[in-house]
Symmetry: C2
Subunit: 300 residues, 2 copies
């Protein structure tokens, strides 16, 4: 129930684990909350160590031109975060301030910047992959803040959150295998933390009338799996997703396999804040009192 989610958020505020900002979906994080997030990040590092992945970190914003090359605006316009800035002179600045002082919308003075908010941790990665891939493809380790404009009182639905990913880019079969292996591996990893998890076929929240068709298609082809666990919402919440992109990124960003074919890609994404919230909901708000089997894995 939505009420359960609101009550859980209030508990998190009261315990000081999340810090209220006045905007739904936007919260400060306490030291304890962050230490849980860091532990989950370390656990993901260990679980993916065999990949010997190339570690790359991107800021929370990405080039507008790259964003336009993904089909994000087609599929999820409502989640988009476009960045706008002021390029005017003193006179236009005076106008902006007059609007601000009158409590009016001052953004009319702004123009689009060359960057937008990161829609997914892996989106900035694809255009940076240049030259043919080696045989067997490559695995990248990315981690960063994502923005999704879906303000909600459910604390698991944040507008700014972090996603830790292992992205495979290579042949179609290898990409699919990467995705499939991570369904099992991540399910085991989350179950090992005492979470009641299940891997289910899922779909992204495609926008509008056309979106229903895209979502059905994604489900029919079983491209996206989510590892879900009950947190505080009406239905179980996705804490990890395992996605087969096919040539969705390899195509537009012209990524080539060793054979010169269009590369396929797949990723596993750990929603670190959601995993932290699942742990806090399942084991209680004080990690000092979590089961030894759980803390032993998080803080070995």
């Amino acid at each position: 129930m939505a009420d359960g989610a609101v009550a859980f958020r209030d508990e998190l505020f009261s315990a000081g684990l999340l810090i209220e900002t006045g905007v739904d979906g936007l919260y400060g994080r306490s030291q304890i909350f962050e230490s849980v997030v860091e532990a989950i990040d370390r656990l993901a590092t260990l679980a993916g160590a065999h990949h010997r992945a190339t570690v790359v970190r991107f800021p929370p914003i990405m080039p507008r031109a790259v964003f336009e090359q993904t089909d994000y605006l087609r599929s999820f316009p409502d989640l988009t975060g476009s960045i706008h800035t002021f390029r005017g002179d003193d006179r236009e600045h005076a106008r902006l301030l007059a609007r601000l002082d009158r409590g009016e919308d001052w953004t009319a003075s702004l123009t689009p910047a060359a960057a937008v908010l990161c829609s997914a941790a892996c989106h900035p990665l694809y255009p940076t992959i240049t030259g043919r891939l080696p045989a067997g493809g490559r695995v990248f380790d990315v981690y960063g803040y994502c923005f999704r404009h879906e303000p909600a009182t459910d604390p698991t639905r944040m507008i700014a959150f972090r996603m830790r990913e292992f992205v495979h880019v290579g042949d179609p079969d290898d990409a699919e295998e990467h995705r499939d292996q991570w369904i099992t591996r991540a399910t085991d990893l989350m179950a090992g933390l005492g979470l009641a998890v299940e891997a289910v076929v899922a779909n992204d929240p495609f926008f509008g009338r056309l979106g229903t068709m895209l979502a059905n298609n994604q489900r029919d082809e079983a491209l996206k799996y989510e590892i879900v666990t009950p947190i505080a919402g009406e239905r179980p919440t996705a804490i990890v997703s395992c996605n087969l992109h096919r040539d969705h990124f390899g195509g537009p960003f012209e990524i080539e396999t060793a054979d010169g074919a269009v590369a396929h890609s797949a990723c596993v994404g750990f929603g670190v804040e959601r995993i932290a919230l699942a742990l806090l909901r399942t084991h209680g708000l004080d990690p000092d009192h979590w089961p030894a089997a759980v803390t032993g894995r998080l803080w070995p």
Copy 2:
């Protein structure tokens, strides 16, 4: 010279330390670059351990209402990053996509979101400080991504960068002492990393005609000190700043000292990417070959 900065950026790209995105000021970071940043972060933690600060982490975006309460739009409109999103229906979505397909500005379909990009790591903090401060005030430890729209080819001038801060909030004298102590402490800390540093009175890049007056005023009152070091630009680059805010935040956010007076604040901010770049410029692009005295401090 600007050319020196461009050449340095090219070296960083070639060495794979920074990753080109096509947007000036926006770069990916390699594992080595991040390990230097993490080491600087740890060093700052140790240097500020005596504060027993309250650790809080905020996402890279902050409430629009809070942003409007700071005077950032008055002083630095050109650095601002306002976030806009799509709230239309299928029909408006079709219009957006038509504009996108024609290569036109598609942002006309967007409306301002309830959040903007973080202008400084400490800005989201102030409104969360509620109730009277204890005697002696409080110190907060914040760290996060900041956005400043000042695209430049000099790699030290990023539009998305991280700032690690210790913020004191309390009596005027304590705030000033916090600032003054950090001028010395941070200068010593940076000198200990083999950087040729100097603490200088500085000013923020206030916008426009009025800005010149504000900048002069800030310098006359010696509110802002910067620890500068030669990196690749024409002039030395600020890598740490030590700021006395007076009641600049305590006033609008109604922060009260133990006596019920308006709280003063001060902060030290470590520009972690700039410190990393200063180290790479001074000691070479391969941390494996940095002087033992430097690596001994960074990776003890």
